[in-house]
Symmetry: C2
Subunit: 332 residues, 2 copies
Amino acid sequence: MPQMNRRIVLASRPQGQVSLDNFRLEEAPLAELRDGRFLVRNIYLSVDPYMRGRMNDAKSYATPVALGDVMGGGTVGEVVESKHDGFAVGDKVTGMFGWQDYAVSDGAGVRKIDDTRVPLTAYLGVAGMPGVTAWYGLNKIIAPRAGQTIVVSAASGAVGSVVGQLAKLAGCRAVGVAGGAEKCRYVVEELGFDACVDYKAGKLYEDLKAATPDGVDGYFENVGGEVFDATLSRMNPFGRIAVCGMIAGYDGQPVPLKQPSIILTMRLLVQGFIITEHLDVWPEALRTLASLVAQQKLRYRESIVEGLDHAPDALIGLLRGKNFGKQFVKIA
Amino acid sequence: MPQMNRRIVLASRPQGQVSLDNFRLEEAPLAELRDGRFLVRNIYLSVDPYMRGRMNDAKSYATPVALGDVMGGGTVGEVVESKHDGFAVGDKVTGMFGWQDYAVSDGAGVRKIDDTRVPLTAYLGVAGMPGVTAWYGLNKIIAPRAGQTIVVSAASGAVGSVVGQLAKLAGCRAVGVAGGAEKCRYVVEELGFDACVDYKAGKLYEDLKAATPDGVDGYFENVGGEVFDATLSRMNPFGRIAVCGMIAGYDGQPVPLKQPSIILTMRLLVQGFIITEHLDVWPEALRTLASLVAQQKLRYRESIVEGLDHAPDALIGLLRGKNFGKQFVKIA
């Protein structure tokens, strides 16, 4: 059994943009394993936009990470020692063990996973929380009918890529918004969206209008800011907007919505949601998503950084739109 | 039978604020009554905020009034001549006959009303479209539970006053927002709200915070602008916002929403609606509202201007918040 655990803790709260000195790598001894517990060696850490919110000490949906605490987050790993009847050495598991090499668990919130048909990392992505997030927002809030037009921002990302592919499987027109020609090409050519608008090309509204000739019936909001404004202007009457992320505002400055009156004039439904509050849908969603992955009907791309000490870089890059696909840190 | 009809038509579309020269009073001959028709003498015209939207030639929920057409709007009146089996001379009716002395109808969209227990004007207010609007937004979107806090803007107005009183009848804490000490006193002392915040007093957020110590569970949005911003900051998780009006933006300039990310962080539902698209609820709502009026459980105030030629003034005053209670023009 290992004696020491390396972990990354929150050293200070960001003032505006996150920087490396908000984090600290430290080592701490591992206590002896008690009965009813098991020890997990984390293999992959998930890096997600919501982590920015938890670094603030503000009224929010996410409990803030306390100063000096391990940065939280989803992980997949392997049981390396066990005094728990339900978990054996060698079991692959996914949980919320955060940015550290090892974690001790009593099994609460931990799920055993099968990596024979679905790769380990998929359980943190398309067949994990991001996938369930996409599934919920699309099916439970947007509830599209075949033939409708669905727009999703951050379309090449972990959530957005699943939203568009599920929309296509439901017979919809799927239009992505992403940053840069390369991401847009990927969204259309590899993920099979009908169109993708490059918000960095300087004519967001015009390009979005051209890509949505029949208007927009459903919008899956991952970004906020100007993409939200542009899409709002394209909404059809009775459109639905699932609000899942507002990266544009995560760095502290609120980003206004320019024309909220469209909510009234187009009689829109706008619904914010946090997927961890809808645990009742997870079994159905996870079953569906894992099955689609195994049948190769859901494609995805991953962005993997190696080494625990690079987790802060990975988060900073993600918040600046530098990743391409679901971001992980491989630590074993 | 009268020979001539006076009417107010849209002479030009407003650039920004509405002015008197956007309207023209004209006279036109009345055609002879055909079989299956009846002639109504309008007694009261309703003046409502939505009329501003119809003066624009813009993509909106409301079909624009064409230049030269009679300004539309709800009316109550009396049948003065009839060649229709369902309507007799002397019948009191409510319909959408607009800003004119007389109108000919085949009965479509016209409802006979009984003014023995409920006054005529109430059918254009608390027991008419504004009342149904309040009933729908509160019961079908906000869906409050006893003990929750409900905020309504334009609280002394035709819709807002009903929202708060229905919220009180449902066991909620009702908090109004209105402009000026006199309106606020009316909202608390006469309508029975628990509190009312004067948005003109210069410390909207602080006053709203003091009036909503347990946060806000439901918000009925009649105004937009800074009141929307302030209330959004007080929303509790899973709060519901019924978006019914955005007067603040009716004059053409879009008014931004400063912190839309609260929709996500508080997992809010924000729903725009137009009451004429929910005709299925009208019979139930009208029955409930008329019964509450007859039992004197719903109080209301009216602002009545005399003379057809003063209808434009009345609308301009309404849009500037000068009316107190439901605005009418008495023309007979």
